[in-house]
Structure formats: C-alpha cells, structure tokens
Amino acid sequence: MVQLGFFINNEYCNGCKACVIACKDKNDLEVGVNFRRVYENSEGDYVERDEAFIQNIQTFFTSISCNHCENPACVKGCPTGAMHKREEDGVVLVDQNKCVGCKYCIWNCPYGGPQYNEKIGKMTKCDFCIDLIDKGENPACVGACPMRALDYGPIDELRKKYGNVRDIKGLPSSSITEPNIVINANKYAK
C-alpha cells in the first residue's frame, strides 16, 4: 500500500491562501467550510527605543488540510464507520451513505480537518483530489500555490526528498495521530 501525503514548505508560504481558494473552488464549498486552511502564527510587537520604534515581529504561515493520518482519530471515533481510511492510498474519506452528521470527528481531529456541511447535514473533508490525481493532475491546492510551497506524493518519497519534520510550533504533537505530512519549517517555527 502506498500512503499519500503532503509536503508543506512554510519557509516559502506567504499566507496568500490561493490553496484555500483553489480548494473551495474545486469542491464548491460554502462560506465557513474550508477543506484547506492557512494558519498564521505571529509574535512580537513594536517597541519604543529612545526616539525610534523598532519591531521584533515574527510571522509564518502553515497551510493545513486533512493530513490523512496514520492513526486517524476521526476514523477511530466515528460511530458509523463513515469516516474511513482507503486501503490503496491511505486517503481518509467520508462515506456519505453512512454519515449521520454527529460531528464527533470534529472533536477528535487535532487539525480541524473534518468540515461540517449544514446543507446536507453531513461531514465533508479533503479527499486529496483523488479524481484529479487519477487524471494525472495535481491536487487543486498543490497546483494553485504560486510559491510552490506545497507538494504531494507517496509519503516515503516525500520523506526521502524533504526530510522527516512534522512537529513545528503551532501544530499539535504528531504523536496523537501520526499525520502524513512533511514540513520544511520556517525559521520562526522551529
């Protein structure tokens, strides 16, 4: 079994949110429903020194969707079995025929991956754009990033290419769900 994963270069990410918009466009998502989200992490302030103001502001952005985790807490918690991990590529999907819309997965996921759709009363989430991948295209978010800060592929290959970091400032501990992501950490995120 190949396990798909994302590479996130938050040294490059400038927080433009093109990935979020491309994802919303591709999946036709309502306001408030975001399969991919960009989290801003800012610290510091302007400080008065003699007759000048100096700043020590540090900011970096982390683009996160579903991390298609090795031990997905959403799958373990789902009472219906609607939330499941696909055998062939480890992609975590919601079976809409089974979902009861209890939102329990939201309380279980550390990353805010599951996104509730009020209209259909069921849970929705990032499906890794498996339809686009089947056609040989990139997932919408990866294709849209103007900074080339996102990549995807089999997680083993991503780890060989980019390393093994997935614990950075602002993210919950990877030990909870073993997310299938690799991050090139921003200097302020280490």
């Binding site: 996160i64 789902c78 219906t80 009861v100 329990y104 279980n108 069921k122």
Partner: protein
C-alpha cells in the same frame, strides 16, 4: 453553545439512572411502611422510563442526518460514541421493561431494577469517556466523569423522591427525603472534587486552533457561580425538609428542590458544552 440536544440527553439519562437506583435503594423501606408498593412505584418507574426516552429523542436533534441514526451503533467496540449509544439503548430498554413488568405483572422486581441501574452506571461511564477521549481542551480530564456521575447522584434521588412524594405520607416520605438529601451531598461532593482537581490542571493543547478551556470559561465565571448558588440552595432546601420534625411535609419544597437541581445541573452542562463549541 449549540449543543442543547446533547445537554438534554446528558442531563436526563444520568438523572434517570440515579433515580432508578434510588428507587431500588428505597423500595424496601417503602414496602415496610406502606402496603401498596406497586401503586407507589408504578408512576415513578414509568416517568423515569419516559424521561430517558425523551433524553434519547433529544439527542436525535444533534444529528445532521437522523435518517442514518441506526448506523451510529456500527462502531460498537471501536468508537466510544457507539458504546455510549448502545449502553443508553440497553438502559432505556431495561427501564421500559422494569416499568412495563411492574404495571403488567403487578409485581416489583428489585433485581431487574438494580440491573437497570447498573447498566445505567456503565452507560454514564461510556458517556463520559466519549468526551474524555476527544481533543477538546478541558474534556480530557477525570472531571468529565465526576460531572456526569455527579448529575446521577445529585439530581437522580430528588427526581425519584419528587415522583414518590404524592403517594407517600408521614414518616415514609421523611425517610425518602433524608436519603435523597444524603445522596445529593455525595453527588455535589463528587462534582466539587472534580472541579477542585480541574482547577489545578493545565490541559495539553491538542488542537491547531490552540483554544484553552481556561480562555473559553472566562465569560462564564459568573454563570458558574450562579450554578453553585442554585445547587447549594437546592441542597439547603433538602436539608430543611430532612430536619423538619413536623408531620406535615411541605410538598412544594420538594418540587422546588427538584427545580433547583434541574437548573443547576442544566447550567453545569451548558458550561461543559461551551468547551466543545
């Protein structure tokens, strides 16, 4: 806070469990002092079964697509939410069976009552664990168990006592109220211990939103205070009734104590669900 259905569910089910255990505990006393136990126990057992069904119906309003509700037991053994649903179903079935058999057979079955109560105790464990295993800051603490069992012990006995009150007289009702008072003290003590431990605990942040229980609780500190005032007022009312040596029991006070406990436990649960909102 949008979790009103779950609030109703998680107040009514533990209250029904506590009430049925209290009925089991007091039925011997009642049998000794009053002749017709069936007549006295029939309505309370029936009302408790109905209340637990209302609790379950309430939980359906939490679901976005209730037509798939039966699927929610598929995860039994894996998902604590499924375990909770199965255990709740078992408790309600047994509560209905106990009430039904009492009415049809005209016989009290204390063992069935006890089994129903014990299944209810397991159900409350599943209910609390379903929250304790999530990533929600503040839920993954022992306090969650204390909050849910606290409801069973504080609200359950006064609920049962209020249902027994109309058909009991003199010493019998006095005894029932005394026991309800004693159990309510345990129920409130359990919640105070949980709350005290919770105050000395910094839960690990396990979500990307980084929200902490302490931050979410800030706007509700007044509400938490009011909740304890109401709960203690209910307890004081029960204390007054228990110590009252006059023969004429003020029934209005019993119902007032019940209302106080319902309000206090409702507010307690409201604050609990603020953490997950």
């Amino acid at each position: 806070m949008h979790e009103w259905p779950l609030l109703i569910f998680t107040v009514l089910i533990p209250a029904s469990v506590g009430a049925i255990l209290f009925l089991w505990f007091t039925h011997g006393n009642i049998a000794k002092s009053n002749g017709d136990t069936i007549k006295i126990m029939k309505i309370p057992l029936l009302v408790i079964a109905i209340l637990s069904i209302i609790g379950l119906i309430g939980s359906f309003f939490h679901l976005g697509y209730p037509l798939n509700a039966l699927n929610a037991i598929r995860g039994f053994g894996r998902s604590w939410m499924s375990n909770e649903i199965v255990a709740t179903g078992a408790f309600i079935a047994l509560a209905c069976l106990t009430a039904g058999l009492t009415i049809v057979q005209k016989k009290i079955n204390p063992i069935l009552m006890l089994i129903t109560g014990l299944v209810g105790v397991i159900d409350i464990y599943c209910m609390a664990t379903a929250y304790a295993v999530t990533r929600v800051n503040g839920w993954n603490h022992l306090n969650t168990y204390f909050v849910f069992y606290g409801t069973a012990f504080s609200l359950g006995p006064i609920l049962a006592a209020s249902l027994l009150a109309p058909s009991l007289k003199g010493e019998a009702i006095q005894k029932v109220i005394k026991w309800a008072f004693a159990f309510s003290i345990i129920g409130i003590a359990v919640q105070l211990i949980g709350s005290a431990m919770f105050n000395a605990y910094i839960p690990e942040i396990q979500t990307i939103s980084g929200e902490t229980a302490a931050n979410k609780m800030v706007p509700y500190s007044g509400m938490i205070g009011v909740r304890w005032v109401i709960e203690i007022a209910g307890l004081l009312l029960l204390a007054y009734l228990s110590l009252n040596t006059k023969k004429n029991m003020k029934y209005a006070f019993i119902y007032a104590a019940l209302i106080f406990f319902v309000l206090a436990e409702g507010v307690s649960r409201y604050v609990f669900y603020v953490l997950g909102s």
